[in-house]
C-alpha cells in the first residue's frame, strides 16, 4: 500500500465502522420504541436523498453546517478545540441583517458582498478573541469559546429586543426585512440558495491552505506541538489567532447567508443549532476540510428527515438528536483505534 494514502484510508475505515456501529445502536432503539427499522430507514433515506426535493432540502441545510464545521475544524489544525460557533453565527447574522439595511441602492453583487462581509467580520472578531485570549493569557479555548457563545446569544436577544426589533414583528421578534439587493438567490436550475456554492468554495479553500500551502504546513506544525513550532521559529501566536479568525469568519458567514438567503431578517430562527451541530460535522470529518462536505450532507440529510419521521411515525424531533448523539459518540470512540487498524509497516 502507498504510505501516503494510509491515514486517509484509515480515517475512511474508522468513519465507516463508527457509522455501522451507530446504525446498529439506532436500530436497537427503533425496535425498543416499537417501530420497524426497515420502514424508518426507507423514510429516512427517501426524505434525505430520495428525490429532487429531498436533495434540495438536504443541500440547503448542509451549506450552513459546512461553514459552521470549519469554525471547529480550522482551529483544530493548530491544536485548538473551539466549540462556540453558535454564538458567532447568530451575531454574524445580526450584523449582516443591519449592514444589509444600508445597501438598498448598491448593485446587487456588491450589496451581497457587503452583507456577507459584515457577518464574517463579526464572526472573525468573536472567535478571534478566543484565539487571542489563549495566546496572550493562556485562557483555555474550550471554556472561553463556550462562555463567549453564551454571552453572544444573550447579546443577540438583548440587541434584538432593545434596539433592532421591527415594530411590525409582534409575536416573533425579528429585525426589519433586508432589501432585495442584499438577498441571495437560488443556484441556476436548483431550488438551493447560492450559499451552498460559497460553503463548498470555503471547504476547498480551507483544504488547499491547510493541506497544500506553506502556511498550512506551519499551522499543522503548531498543532503537532507548540514547543517544536517555537523551536523552529514559527510565529505561533499569529498562526493560532489566524486559524480562529478564519474559522470565525466562516461561521459568521453562515449566519449572514442564513439571513440573506433563507430568513431575510435576523430573529430567533437564526438560533437553529447549526453552530453546535457543526461541531459534530467537524468531528465526523475528523477536521479534514474536504471530508466536511459528505459529513455535512449526512447530518443535513438527517435533519431533513426529521419532519417526515415526525409525521409518518410520530417520532419526536428529539429522535434525530439521539441519532446525532449516537453517531457522535461512535465517531469519537473510534478514534482510539487509529494506528491499530492499519499499523504502519515496521521499519
Amino acid at each position: 500500500m502507498v504510505d501516503a494514502l494510509r491515514p486517509a484510508l484509515e480515517s475512511a475505515l474508522l468513519s465507516a465502522g463508527a457509522l455501522a456501529v451507530a446504525a446498529v445502536l439506532v436500530i436497537a432503539l427503533v425496535l425498543l420504541v416499537g417501530h420497524d427499522p426497515r420502514e424508518i430507514a426507507t423514510t429516512l433515506a427517501r426524505s434525505a436523498f430520495g428525490s429532487r426535493f429531498a436533495w434540495e432540502n438536504t443541500l440547503s441545510r448542509a451549506a450552513p453546517l459546512m461553514l459552521a464545521a470549519l469554525c471547529t475544524a480550522i482551529p483544530a489544525h493548530a491544536g485548538l478545540v473551539v466549540i462556540g460557533g453558535e454564538g458567532a453565527l447568530v451575531l454574524g447574522g445580526l450584523a449582516a441583517s443591519q449592514a444589509a439595511l444600508f445597501v438598498a441602492d448598491v448593485p446587487p453583487f456588491a450589496a451581497i458582498a457587503i452583507t456577507c462581509a459584515a457577518g464574517m467580520l463579526v464572526g472573525a472578531a468573536w472567535i478571534g478573541l478566543v484565539g487571542a485570549l489563549q495566546q496572550a493569557r493562556g485562557v483555555n479555548e474550550v471554556i472561553s469559546s463556550l462562555l463567549l457563545s453564551i454571552i453572544a446569544l444573550g447579546l443577540f436577544d438583548w440587541l434584538l429586543e432593545e434596539f433592532l426589533r421591527d415594530p411590525a414583528s409582534l409575536n416573533y421578534p425579528a429585525t426589519r426585512p433586508i432589501p432585495d439587493a442584499a438577498r441571495i438567490g437560488a443556484l441556476p436550475g436548483l431550488d438551493v440558495h447560492a450559499g451552498l456554492a460559497v460553503a463548498l468554495v470555503a471547504c476547498v479553500a480551507a483544504w488547499w491552505v491547510l493541506r497544500r500551502s506553506v502556511t498550512g504546513f506551519a499551522i499543522r506544525v503548531v498543532g503537532g506541538g507548540v514547543r517544536a513550532a517555537l523551536g523552529v521559529g514559527l510565529p505561533v501566536g499569529r498562526l493560532v489567532v489566524a486559524t480562529c479568525v478564519a474559522g470565525g469568519a466562516c461561521v459568521g458567514l453562515a449566519g449572514a447567508i442564513e439571513v440573506a438567503a433563507v430568513h431575510e431578517r435576523a430573529g430567533g430562527a437564526l438560533h437553529a443549532d447549526y453552530g453546535n451541530t457543526g461541531i459534530l460535522v467537524a468531528f465526523l470529518a475528523r477536521h479534514h476540510p474536504l471530508a466536511i462536505v459528505p459529513a455535512a450532507l449526512l447530518v443535513g440529510g438527517l435533519a431533513a428527515a426529521s419532519g417526515p419521521l415526525q409525521r409518518g411515525f410520530d417520532l419526536p424531533d428529539a429522535f434525530v438528536r439521539i441519532v446525532e448523539g449516537v453517531v457522535f459518540l461512535a465517531v469519537i470512540a473510534s478514534e482510539t483505534l487509529r494506528g491499530r487498524l492499519l499499523p504502519p509497516a515496521a521499519r
Partner: protein, 306 residues
C-alpha cells in the same frame, strides 16, 4: 410589616438565589469532582436534562418524589460513566466526548420526556424557613428546597474530603499529576471513572431539583442553560466545593435580578445582567491566568487538557 415595598427587591433576590442555587450547586459540585480528578465533562447540561426528565417520570409513575431523586441519580451516573469510559480510551478527545454527551443527553431527555409534558408529579416537601413571617412574600421567598440542605452538607463534606480523607486526596493526586499518582500506586483510570460517574449522579440530582420542586413540572426549556453555566461556576469558585455554594447563590441571585428589576418598572437593559456571571468568569480567567502559570486551584491535568 405588611407591605414588602422596599423589601420587594431583596426578597426577590433572596428567593431567586435560594431557588436557583440548588440545581447550580449540584451540577457544579459534580463538575468540580470530575474536574478535580483531571477530566472535564462539557456535557453536564445534557445530564441535567436527563436527570430532570427521569426524576419527573419516576416520581409520576411511583408517586414518590424520593424515587424520582433516586432515578435521576441513577440516570446521571449512567451518563457520567459513559463519559468516563469514553475518556478512558486512548486518543479520545474529552471535550468532544462531552459535546457528544450533551447532544445525546438532550436527545434522550426530550425523546423520553414527551409524555411527561402535560401531567403533574408529586413534589418534594419544602422546608418552610419563612414560617415565622405572616407575610406571604417572605414565606414564599424562604421556602427551601430540601435538596439545598443536602447540597450544603455535601459541599462542606466534599471540601473536608479533598483536604483530609483518603479518597478525596486520591482524587486530587490523580487530577494533579497522573504519572506521579501512578507511581504512588493509585489507579488513575479507575479513580477518574468513579469521579466522573459520581459527578454525573450529582448533575442528575441537580436536574431532579429542577423538576420536582416548585414550580414543578417537566418542559424542554426547564434548564435554561444552567448546566452550561455550572461549568463557568466551577471556575468562578476555583475548584472549591464550599466556594461553589457561594457562587451558586450568587449566580442564582444574578438570574433573579433581571426579572425583579423589570417587575419594579426598570427597562430591558437589565436583561444583560443575567450575562454578568459569564462575563465575570471570563474576566477571572483572563486576569487569573498567565501564559507561564495556570490558575490557582486548577487541577494540573486539566491544564494540558485536550
Amino acid at each position: 410589616m405588611s407591605d414588602p415595598g422596599l423589601w420587594a427587591l431583596p426578597l426577590a433576590l433572596a428567593g431567586g438565589a435560594l431557588r436557583a442555587a440548588t440545581p447550580y450547586l449540584f451540577v457544579s459540585l459534580g463538575e468540580c469532582l470530575t474536574e478535580k480528578s483531571g477530566r472535564i465533562n462539557v456535557g453536564v447540561e445534557g445530564i441535567l436534562l436527563v436527570g430532570a426528565m427521569s426524576a419527573f417520570g419516576a416520581a409520576w409513575a411511583t408517586g414518590s418524589p424520593w424515587a424520582g431523586i433516586a432515578a435521576a441519580a441513577a440516570a446521571g451516573a449512567a451518563m457520567g460513566a459513559l463519559h468516563g469510559a469514553l475518556c478512558s480510551l486512548a486518543r479520545v478527545s474529552h471535550v468532544a466526548a462531552g459535546v457528544a454527551i450533551l447532544v445525546l443527553g438532550t436527545g434522550i431527555a426530550f425523546f423520553a420526556g414527551k409524555p411527561f409534558i402535560e401531567p403533574q408529579a408529586p413534589t418534594l416537601p419544602a422546608i418552610e424557613l419563612g414560617a415565622w413571617s405572616s407575610h406571604p412574600a417572605v414565606a414564599s421567598a424562604l421556602r427551601l428546597n430540601p435538596l439545598l440542605a443536602l447540597g450544603v452538607v455535601l459541599a462542606f463534606g466534599m471540601r473536608a474530603a479533598f483536604r483530609r480523607a483518603r479518597v478525596g486526596l486520591a482524587v486530587i493526586a490523580v487530577g494533579d499529576d497522573a504519572a506521579a499518582a501512578t507511581a504512588m500506586g493509585l489507579h488513575v483510570d479507575r479513580t477518574r471513572l468513579a469521579a466522573t460517574t459520581l459527578g454525573g449522579a450529582l448533575a442528575g440530582i441537580g436536574g431532579a431539583s429542577l423538576s420536582l420542586f416548585h414550580p414543578t413540572g417537566w418542559s424542554e426549556a426547564i434548564s435554561g442553560g444552567q448546566g452550561l453555566m455550572a461549568m463557568a461556576l466551577v471556575i468562578f469558585a476555583r475548584w472549591d466545593p464550599v466556594r461553589c455554594l457561594g457562587a451558586a447563590l450568587l449566580f442564582g441571585a444574578a438570574g433573579a435580578l433581571a426579572p425583579a428589576l423589570q417587575a419594579a418598572g426598570h427597562g430591558h437593559a437589565w436583561q444583560l445582567l443575567h450575562l454578568a456571571p459569564h462575563a465575570l468568569t471570563l474576566a477571572i480567567l483572563v486576569t487569573g491566568t498567565t501564559r507561564a502559570r495556570a490558575m490557582r486551584g486548577l487541577p494540573g491535568e486539566l491544564a494540558v487538557l485536550r
